[in-house]
Amino acid sequence: AQSVTQPDIHITVSEGASLELRCNYSYGATPYLFWYVQSPGQGLQLLLKYFSGDTLVQGIKGFEAEFKRSQSSFNLRKPSVHWSDAAEYFCAVVYPSGGSNYKLTFGKGTLLTVNP
């Protein structure tokens, strides 16, 4: 079965430090990949998405992600973390569920804590 793995449950970084959140997927064909961010008690906000083309995609809030087919990965990065980036981050994959329909499957999330 298709799955999305986020190996890190909780990451703590200092403000200004660089950040990388890992995401691996299990799917035979080229997936559609997403990163979402969720602040406490809020809904999900789309950070960036990859469908095809350039494997390095830029998103909002200074985030970027790189699709690596050979590693089945779509890691999220940010060069310098701000305190406001503290949140839960979810990687997600779209896989077909029959015909032209599809469903989004989420990883379990990575909680980011930012120290001052």
């Binding site: 559609y32 997403f34 979402y36 008690g41 809020q42 809904g43 999900l44 906000q45 789309l46 998405k49 469908f51 839960e88 979810f90 997600a92 779209v94 329909n101 599809y102 469903k103 989004l104 499957t105 989420f106 990883g107 379990k108 999330g109 909680l111």
Partner: protein, 111 residues
């Protein structure tokens, strides 16, 4: 400005009550979804719809039901709420494969 709206934002209700969580979107999306999320946990798909009069159960079994009579409206109903239903419920819609838009969620507490 949000394109997908969920009401109520917070709900505290007694056991045995019937409740309906509302979800509406103004984007004309055919596909809509309900996810359930316990605090600090992952999201689980409980219902989805690919268009009017189309509803399906998701990956996580749920005692809730949904309906899709209009494209823009996808309400979720619990006939008899129980404490085990306490959770956050997130509604989303999508078009083709261009990403999902989520509502702000309804945080339900059943006492």
């Amino acid at each position: 400005e949000a394109d997908i709206y969920q009401t109520p934002r917070y709900l505290v209700i007694g056991t045995g009550k019937k409740i309906t969580l509302e979800c509406s979107q103004t984007m004309g999306h055919d596909k809509m979804y309900w996810y359930q999320q316990d605090p600090g946990m992952e999201l689980h798909l409980i219902h989805y719809s690919y268009g009017v009069n189309s509803t399906e159960k998701g990956d996580l079994s749920s005692e809730s039901t949904v309906s899709r009579i209009r494209t823009e409206h996808f309400p979720l109903t619990l006939e008899s709420a129980r404490p085990s239903h306490t959770s956050q419920y997130l509604c989303a819609s999508s078009e083709l494969k261009r990403g999902y838009t989520f509502g702000s969620g309804t945080r339900l507490t059943v006492v």
